[in-house]
Symmetry: C2
Subunit: 358 residues, 2 copies
């Protein structure tokens, strides 16, 4: 506590991201990065940016990037918003669309989902209710049909990896017309179907995506939102009251190249999907129960070994996975699908640990 701090600061519980270790040679399967790296065209585009252009402000509206994304999804450019990673996009969404000061109508999101959602609620003083996933860790649309000032969930959900169908999403949108439904599609390209096709049908649908996962650009910080032009306008107003230039010139150039290289994108996503299926099979052989995943990670519990102990023992072998010390999921590990070699190192490590503890 410091007398100079705004009262808000004392109440905050900041988000804690997964560890970004500064050691090399770790098998890093803890933050769902893509093992294959971005399209080579991204690096070419970045290297074309000159010193003479870096001295100039970037396009504050990222018009070329928005048009590229609009073309990709068959939308108009004014249906696209971009920001400094999907975390910034989400923060702006919470401020622009979810802050309604009505305690009778809380924001709704799953009790198990992206753990940044309650943090944003703290930052913007948004009243929320966490809705329980069912016993299979699935989102049940019916449990969201209640007074609310907004609904948000990840699809596929994180850290479960479980996908909600487009039919279920359409059912929710039809029943919930008075507030915005935000679908956080960070992992949609690994086997799910984006809800973009519903954007022109539902004025209250907003989709958030990131280039950090399927386009392998976690290091570049680019996220986006897709929706009705009026929802996008609300985001632009907040953004332009906060930071005119959230995307630097290198990020804009790289993101455009990433969206343009469709072939590389499709190939790498397909490879990760196939490798995920092999990883799931191998884990199941080692007595894990694995939730059905449509993401680039799996959420798995061992039938005998304690999850936290297992995570620690893997860490001692230089293999990092994500453990959440949280009710209902504290016996699960979230494991990123790595390269075939990394996945094998993980499996070998688990086998060793199982032998040790027998």
């Amino acid at each position: 506590m410091n007398k100079y701090w705004s009262p808000l600061v004392n109440k905050l519980t900041p988000y804690v991201p997964g560890e970004q270790p500064k050691l090399d040679k770790l098998v890093k399967l803890n933050t769902n990065e893509n093992p294959y790296g971005p399209s080579p065209k991204v690096l070419e585009a970045i290297k074309e940016v000159t010193a003479d252009s870096l001295r100039l402000y970037p396009d504050p509206n990222s018009d070329r990037l928005k048009q590229t994304i609009a073309n990709y999804y068959n939308l108009e450019a004014n249906q696209v918003f971009v920001g400094n990673g999907s975390d910034e996009v989400l923060a702006i969404v919470f401020q622009a669309l979810f802050k309604h000061d009505d305690e009778q109508r809380p924001l709704l999101f799953p009790d198990i989902s992206y753990s940044f959602y309650p943090v944003y609620c703290g930052l913007y003083d948004i009243h929320y209710t966490a809705i329980e996933l069912d016993e299979l860790f699935q989102i049940k649309v019916k449990s969201y049909l209640r007074p609310n000032s907004g609904i948000i969930f990840a699809n596929p959900n994180a850290p479960t990896g479980i996908l909600l169908s487009l039919e279920d999403i359409a059912e929710l949108l039809e029943a919930n017309t008075e507030s915005v439904v935000v679908i956080d599609e960070a992992y949609i390209d690994f086997g799910g179907e984006t809800a973009v096709a519903l954007v022109n049908q539902f004025p209250n649908l907003l989709i958030v995506q990131t280039l950090s996962k399927s386009r392998s650009l976690a290091g570049l910080r680019v996220g986006l939102a897709l929706g009705n032009a009026e929802l996008i306008e609300a985001l632009e107003r907040v953004k332009n009251s906060f930071n005119s230039y959230p995307l630097d010139r290198l990020a804009q150039a790289g993101a455009i190249a990433a969206f343009e290289d469709v072939e590389y994108f499709n190939e790498t996503c397909q490879t990760i999907i196939e490798d995920r299926e092999s990883l799931v099979a191998a884990l199941e052989q080692l007595q894990f129960r694995v939730l059905p995943s449509a993401a680039n990670f799996v959420f798995a519990r061992h039938t005998k070994l304690d999850a936290e102990l297992l995570a620690t023992k893997l860490r001692n072998r230089g293999i990092i996975v994500r453990y959440f010390n949280k009710a209902r999921i504290n016996q699960f590990l979230r494991i990123t699908v790595g390269t075939l070699e990394q996945n094998q190192q993980l499996i070998d490590g688990i086998i060793e640990i199982m032998q040790e503890t027998e």
Copy 2:
């Protein structure tokens, strides 16, 4: 108005940045970019970032960059905060240090200063009072000695370019112990003296800087704050409740290189200071009154020609300067110090316009 918007959105008056024209070959003297470009070492550092590193999240805390800046200013790393341009840093400052919900103690800033300040107040619902600059457009410390929940001004001030002395700043800090004083030093390296030397003396001093001007990296979006570790902690808490990774890998690498190349920095700043003095002399010869500038721009009014008309006529010649249609300064133009050639093109354009209108 849209039923899905948060009530806040309707009240916002977003900031309007200076034009970023998409045409080439303009003489662009409207947004105070640096004509010389960043150190060549910045581009080298950016080109060393590999595809394999771009797939990974950046360091969320930008530790190496903070240490580099701390070394440069002889501070500790926990006295340094970094963000996605100084606009993001300022936004976080307003939220973390200025939002005190006490109408009897408004935030204070000059009536003529960076026009983003009142925009942030709108975004975070902060009560403020604009304090008049004196008749010579100077900040008078005495006029800030009144109940307040914070004080912020640019030094040198923008768009005037006028510098406040370190003695005046120390006097203000000594008299104003109950709230934070933020000095926005975007232009300090062009002839002013940074208040960094006062940081260890005053726990309520926060300095904000940018790499967009003196380090010629407007296209890279890096800003910073320097101050007491407890003030920095407040900024970190808000930042980590908003966006874990505001600086991408390229921005971190480029910013480190920019701070390390002291020689290039000193040379280019000195050149701009010299070119500013030549530009001022030339403008005075053409019947301008020029406010004393310690920035990389000048704020000047012609004794005969209307400022808005002059700006329009220059624009027609491909020369862009900044005009503010605002009380007290609507007969001034803010003109960036360009290359010698650009400055000459400006002077030639003004001479032509003067001949036309005689």
